[in-house]
Structure formats: C-alpha cells, structure tokens
Subunit: 331 residues, 2 copies
C-alpha cells in the first residue's frame, strides 16, 4: 500500500453520503461509487446528493464519481462499503476485477441474506480477504447529524489496529471523534442486533407500553446482546462502550429510526407486508431478526426479545400475545 492510499466509498444512501463528507474533511480525493448515473449527474451539478442527506454539501472537485463499480474498485486501495446488507451481494457480484489484496472497511449494518454471514465474515469466507485487511466503521451515529456537523463518535475496528488507526485519522474532524477496537465480529453483531431491539421498542410503543417498560426493554436488550455476542465470538469486551450500548440507544430511542418505526406499525396492527409497503422500504432489522434467530439455534443464548420479534415477523404470531409473554421473561 502506498503512503497515500486511495480511498473510495460504495453506496448512495445517507450513511455512504455521510462517510464521503467525513473523508472530504481530510482528503483531496475520494472515490465514490453510486449505482445511479442520474444521482451522479445531479451531485456534479448541485453539489449534494439528490436523494439522501441533501444538506451535506460537497466540493465536487474532490469527488471521483462513478457508476461503474469496477472502475471505483480498481481506483482505490481502501474500499468502504456502505450499501444496505440486503443489496450488497448483488453489487459485489458485479465486481470482476481482483480486489483480494485491498483493504475493506464495512459500514454496513446487518447480515448478508444470501450467506447468512455478517459482512466481515462474508468478505473473509466468501471473498478470501484476510481478517487483517477487514475493518468495520460503527456509530452511534445518525447520518443526519453528521450532515449538520453535530459532534459524533465512531468506533473503527480491525484486527490490525494500525489499519483501524489509519482509518480513524481519515474520518476524524472537528465534529467526528474516533476510537479503535479489534472486536470487529462483536461490533458487527451489535450493529445488527440493535436493529432488532429497535423493532421491539417500536412494537412495544405501538402496543401502548410506556417509557417505564421501554427502559426495562433496553436494559434487557443490552444484556441479551451481550449473551448473544459472547456465544458467537467470546472475547473480553465492555458491552457498555459506545459501539455496543451507545449504538443500541441511538437507534432504540430514536423516533426517526426506520426499524423502530416499522416495529411501531406492527404494534399498531399493520401486517408485516402492509407495514413494508407503507414505508416503501425494508427495515434492516427485519432481515436481521431472521438471521439472528437462525444463528442462535446452533448454539443458543437466552434471547427472549429476538425470539419475540421473530415470532411476530416470521411466524405470524399476534404481537399483543407475544409481548404479554415477553413481559414475563424480562426483568
């Protein structure tokens, strides 16, 4: 890798846009792959993303925009993927150039449905990237607040801490503070699980449970997260660090969270299908709850909240009854 590695971001959503903005604070050139050529044309002309985070303005001279994923992969030494997990496989399949020696950072929350793997494991097992070249960028961080340059903290993880440090330096600025970690597996699972717990929080709200119960639910969620992650990848970690508990709270307590909103509709009586249609998008926690449920069957941790969400979303169980049972299982 050269002294000044080239960096590119893959994705056109709000989180991808936020990461490009962070990088532009420190770099003179940032590669940016967006699937949509019309979005690229719009950015070039209007200096902001037409669809997401439109308040984030760019110096377009710094951007190497492309709708050809192979072009952007070839350009960069470090690839940051920020494409929703439900669509990442489709995009990766488009890559024909060899990228096995590149450094991969994932800013994706969730499990890749096709492989049932978290992103780091997918890159490692399916694409032969060594774990020393795989990193994760995680919050707690609403992209919208990055656009407003409100102080936010990121945790950058990689088993090779030098690479985590390198990425930290590229992302840090007057409104972004970073810390590093070597727990990429645990942090990825946390990012995925928090969306399930946010759905649970939404369902509870939709069913009429109040703030007292929400606090109990969140307190049980972090304990459940700890148990689940420990079963998957045992190592010393403080589950109350920002990348785990902070990330759970920013999602679980945000009325803007799509996962919480989705749960809220389910709690209010929408079917899964009608809630999805109404939102015209799919909440990531929907996929995550299935993946987590299935993963947990192998070597089960006690996961009453995940089980409840799974039963409601995938087994057509009555939310009111399932939550009534859940209230006996939390404390």
């Amino acid at each position: 890798m050269s002294k000044h590695p080239k960096i590119a971001v893959f994705g056109g959503g709000s989180w991808a846009t936020a990461i490009v903005k962070m990088l532009c604070e420190n770099l003179d050139e940032v590669g940016w792959y967006l699937r949509s050529q019309s979005a690229i044309d719009y950015i070039k002309e209007n200096e902001h993303n037409p669809n997401y985070l439109s308040s984030a303005e760019f110096d377009v001279n710094k951007l190497l925009l492309s709708s050809d994923i192979n072009e952007t992969v070839s350009y960069a030494d470090i690839l940051i993927f920020a494409i929703p997990s439900a669509f990442i496989k489709t995009e990766l399949d488009l890559i024909t150039v060899d990228f096995s020696s590149k450094i991969i950072f994932s800013a994706i929350k969730g499990i890749i449905p096709e492989s049932g793997l978290i992103v780091g494991e997918h890159f490692n097992q399916k694409l032969n990237i060594p774990f020393s070249n795989i990193g994760v960028i995680s919050g707690p961080c609403h992209a919208e607040e990055v656009a407003m340059e409100r102080l936010s903290y990121l945790t950058i993880s990689c088993r090779d801490l030098d690479k985590a440090e390198l990425m930290s330096n590229y992302l840090s600025s007057h409104y972004i503070k970073t810390k590093t970690s070597d727990d990429i597996i645990g942090i990825e699972y946390a990012a995925m699980l928090k969306n399930i717990f946010a759905i649970a929080a939404g369902i509870a709200h939709g069913l009429g449970y109040g703030d007292n119960f929400q606090a109990v639910l969140m307190s049980n969620s972090i304990r459940e997260m700890k148990r689940f992650i420990k079963k998957r990848h045992k190592m010393k970690r403080n589950i109350n660090n920002s990348a785990y508990l902070g990330d759970l709270l920013v999602t679980g307590y945000s009325i803007f969270s799509r996962n919480r909103m989705f749960g809220n509709m389910i709690g209010k009586g929408y079917t899964v299908k009608s809630a999805m249609m109404e939102m015209s998008m799919v909440a990531e926690g929907y996929y995550a709850s299935k993946s987590a449920y299935l993963l947990n069957e192998e070597n089960p941790a006690n996961t009453p909240i995940i089980n409840a969400v799974y039963a409601i979303l995938y087994q057509n169980k009555n939310p009111k009854k399932i939550f009534k049972k859940l209230t006996e299982l939390v404390d």
Copy 2:
C-alpha cells in the same frame, strides 16, 4: 412483626401517591402521612391527590390519612418514606415516638444533604436501624405511568431478602412487576447518580449537542456509575440490570424529567438560580452532584461527567467550555 403487618407511606408527592396506589391494589388498609391537612381533606372528598398524580383514584375507605407523622409512625410496622431527600431530615426530626424496631423502606432518590449520606446509610448510622430492616424501592418508574396503570418494573432491595420479597408481594399487580436484590447501597447510589447524568444530558441538549452525542454520554454515564458505585460498595452486580441502567435511561431520555429540564435550561444559558426560580422547584440532581463530587474526593473513581456538572452548578464554570472539555474525556 405480625402476620399482617401494617404499612404506611410518608409523603405527598407523585411518587408517594403512586406507591399508595400500588399498595391499595393488595391491601385493605394503608396508612398515609401527608404534611398538608388541606391535601388530606381534598383527598377524602375527591378521592385523588389535589397536587400530584391527580388521575390516580383511591378508595378512600382504605386510606388512614394523617397529617400527624407520629400518629402514622405509631400505626405502621413497615414505613415507606417517599419524601424528597432535601426535605426528609426535617420530617424525620418531627418523629418523637420510637421506631427503631420498625422496618423502613426508602423510595427516596438522593442524598440527605444534612448528613451527606444515602437514605439507607442515614437510617442505619443516624437512627440506629439495622440494615436487615432497611429496604429500597426503585424503578425505572415514572409515577405518571403508574397512575395510568402502564406496565412498570420495580426492584425491591433489602439485605434480608425475605423482607424484600414481602414488600414485592405488596406492590405487585397487573401493572407492576417486581424483582428483589440485596444491593441496597448500589441501587441507592444508582438512583442518585442517574439524576446527575440526566442533568448532564439536559445541559448537552441545551448546548445543541444531538442524539449521537447523547448516546455516547449515556454509554459513558453507565460506565461512570459502575466505577463510582464500585468504589463505595464493592460487590457483584450487573450494572445493566433495570434498577441501574433502566433507571438511568428512563430519566436520561425523558423530556419530562425535572433534572433533564433543569440541565437543559443551564445549557441554554440560564444561571443556576434563575433556572431554579423558573422551575419553582429544585431538581434533586442539583444536590446529588455536590454530594457525589464530595464523596468521590475521598476515594476517587474517574468521574468526568459528575465533575463537569459540579463545575457548572457549583463553581460557576461556563457550560460550553466545560462540555467542550468533557467531549475529550468521553469515548
């Protein structure tokens, strides 16, 4: 103690009123001391508290109301105190009858300013009640949601777990679930510290920090709470249980919390005095931050958030500057 001990609640505020309501679900007779005779007359006539939690209705035939604290102390075997910590000493000083053999439960959050002790310690050290006869009732629990009969969870702690169990049974109902604990010291400190962290959350909000920072602040708050309590009373406890983390979250994330509201005004530029006058009441976290700061000087834990709140409230330091420094100390 008889097979059917008599129970009385001391206090006229919303939390006292909520506890009387819970007890009335299970008992035929509940003693209730309120300082104000006119409030008592009002309750007798209108079946609800005139000043607090007026939506909670009572079967007044069950209530043994009195504005004579000695009368109520003499009546009961189990005394539940739910008077704000800033005023409890004044009330206790009115008691002339011997109550050293009674069981005391504290539903008070905070430190008794005159002694600098948490309530359990005060009853033990100043009033010679053995710890086996001292218990604590804690949330996460907004009294308002009890009035609405929204599902809430309480933790009842006592070193004599039989007494914790006894009180649990008196408080449990279709909307109240309980668990027991023997960590009365840790739980009391948690209840006190959460108010300081809620003030910090309010200050951050008032200064314009967003949800991303709030999540980091709460994640750091629970770690700080763990460190602080461990220094005061080391024992095995899961700080993520509802009585600690849940209680922190229900206060820190509630826009209705007086402590958060107080902090918010400070963050927006009010002086401490003008914020207090504007609220026409004193937030408990105001006293707690001084007590916690002084306590921590003896055998210090790392407490950047408590120190920041103390500096702002008691040393007249600039909130913006102090929080700017604080952002470097949290992660």
